[in-house]
Symmetry: C2
């Protein structure tokens, strides 16, 4: 069976709003022509699943559990069963809105690392108003990193970006505290030198006429290292791929979330402060919703774990049915484009 015909294995038990909202998303995805199989209990506790197939899994890993321990002890959990379905060729991708650490561990333990990959990393799309997202790698898989790993994050992040957003030669930057190569911590300065030295980048000077490339030639186009960017550049589209360690990446990601939430709360308060304000807000609301749409994390299709031998999409814990549909679509499409072999190729040492 072609990989595009395989179903996406959806963790029915993962996420703050599981299983109802997850199942609703699955049904929407199927209605949109995306094949889906649920992974969860078959004792009827999922309720009405609208005729969807269920891969049996009797255990649940909760959001608060220690990932490593949970994955060791709950062999029949929906996360491990979903990862096994991908490993065994019964699913094209796994999608979960559950415990991020446990989803990573499940994918890593069951699918295994790609050859040559030191550490898998999380690629999270950040919304850019009016443009394609900026993808941050690593958004939280590895709290302590070495520059070798960051070089691989750059390689995998660029390959991911190319397939996900159709940009032939993505712009890759390092997240730092100043634009100059002298700015940053030891890790960033070391990595800067290696990326500026062309490690893993390569590619031709000119891109004209290369748009139709496929296969290894396409991958060899590499990426363009554009130097350092700062926290204030994360939403401006300055870079396609922003490389950082998983600690800094996760802090930045959650700082963005918090800032947007604070702003929304303030705005909501002003807009509902009086009848007059409410009436004025009704005039502005359509425009506001349209402007805010690109900032909605539900629209980005979730994060992908790069560097394991299979497609694993991690959706936000608060995912709605809409976010689940987008995550399923991202998993399906990336698998259909052969993303895993492209990631493997991206980190292959030059022969």
């Amino acid at each position: 069976m072609a990989i595009a015909d395989l179903p996406v294995a959806l963790d029915a038990m993962g996420g703050d709003r599981a299983p109802d909202e997850i199942i609703a998303g699955a049904l929407d995805a199927v209605a949109a022509g995306l094949p889906v199989v649920l992974v969860g209990p078959v004792d009827g506790s999922l309720g009405d699943v609208g005729g969807l197939e269920i891969l049996p899994a009797s255990e649940v890993i909760t959001m608060k559990e220690d990932p490593a321990k949970a994955v060791r002890t709950k062999k029949d959990s929906s996360l491990l069963r979903a990862a096994e379905a991908v490993r065994d060729g019964r699913a094209s991708a796994m999608v979960s809105a559950g415990n991020t650490g446990a989803a990573m561990a499940s994918a890593l333990f069951r699918m295994g690392r790609l050859p040559g990959v030191a550490r898998p990393c999380i690629a999270t799309p950040l919304p850019v108003p009016g443009g394609s997202p900026t993808v941050m790698v690593d958004a939280g898989a590895n709290a302590d990193c070495q520059s070798d790993w960051l070089v691989q994050f750059a390689q995998m992040g660029a390959a991911f970006y190319r397939e996900r957003y159709g940009v032939l030669r993505p712009k890759v930057a390092l997240l730092s505290i100043g634009e100059e190569s002298s700015k940053g911590n030891v890790l960033v300065k070391e990595t800067y030198e290696r990326l500026a030295g062309g490690e893993g980048a390569g590619g031709p000077e000119r891109l004209e006429g290369l748009e139709g490339l496929e296969g290894p030639e396409r991958l060899a186009v590499g990426y363009e290292f554009i130097g350092n960017v700062e926290g204030r550049d994360l939403l401006t589209g300055e870079a396609d791929v922003v490389v950082t360690d998983g600690f800094t990446g996760n802090v930045a990601l959650k700082t963005l979330e918090g800032a947007l939430k604070t702003f929304m709360t303030l705005l909501g308060g002003v807009m509902s402060a009086s009848d007059e304000a409410k009436a004025a807000s009704e005039v502005l609301l359509p425009g506001l919703l349209e402007a805010a749409a690109p900032l909605d994390p539900e629209a980005t299709g979730g994060a992908m774990l790069l560097g394991v031998d299979g497609v694993c999409i991690i959706s936000h814990g608060s995912s709605s049915r809409r976010a689940i549909v987008n995550a399923i679509r991202a998993g399906h499409d990336l698998a259909a484009r052969g993303i895993v072999s492209k990631l493997a190729e991206a980190v292959r040492p030059p022969s």
Copy 2:
């Protein structure tokens, strides 16, 4: 002369809008009863300074210059002269909106480190809608840190918070990627253990009746370590003081700035999209301005360099006259409260 009667030494040449906007701020400060002396050229190039005294300094360190090199070579720069005025007891504090690295280096070289301080750090107030700011230490002075230093940042940050915002026993947290003590990078996990073990915290169980304390007793009240917070907690007032390394702190700070700017731009676009939108926006504008006021970095009075033997306030490069007044007021008041000796006391090893 009492320290409160000494003028604040204001770098007339620092900042994107120097010298005009800086001088305007100085005049506003004087009008508000705050003593100020400008530091800059006396060749008339400052223009009309409204009768303010000028401490002569013939050189300028620009925003783009390498701080260490600039401070070594430009001995007659306004930054070094301002730091010398504090060292020599001719000014209560220095204030600059110029090159942050050079301001730190000037203060460090001319005032010297406080006894026992391993590394000075930058304390930057983050706005909390409806509450006192959260102060982040270190916001950018030290890109690579050791846990010893972070323990001192906690001690100095708490002492600063107490004097600046009148909170007797501030809540101190570590910036991490999860609330549990097991979450974070090696540096955070090590520091967590030490802070949770009470290192440098101490203090009585109950605060009732202690509000009027002065002197060493007041300082001995210490702080409360509340564990880890995440990036999303930076604007919520969860902690009074958030401790982090200067790399992460600076990335988080600039991420906040970028997010707020993006949001403001989107909002501005919606509000001016049509005549109808403009009319509706006029109704909302007063409320919006009021709600946004606490988010305005101009209102917070600038960052303070903690751990040097004198008061050094660093204002944002884009500072307006209003930001300058607030920075001058912060410098003056902190000096008058004897902040430097309190910081020195905070890091003194237990005898």
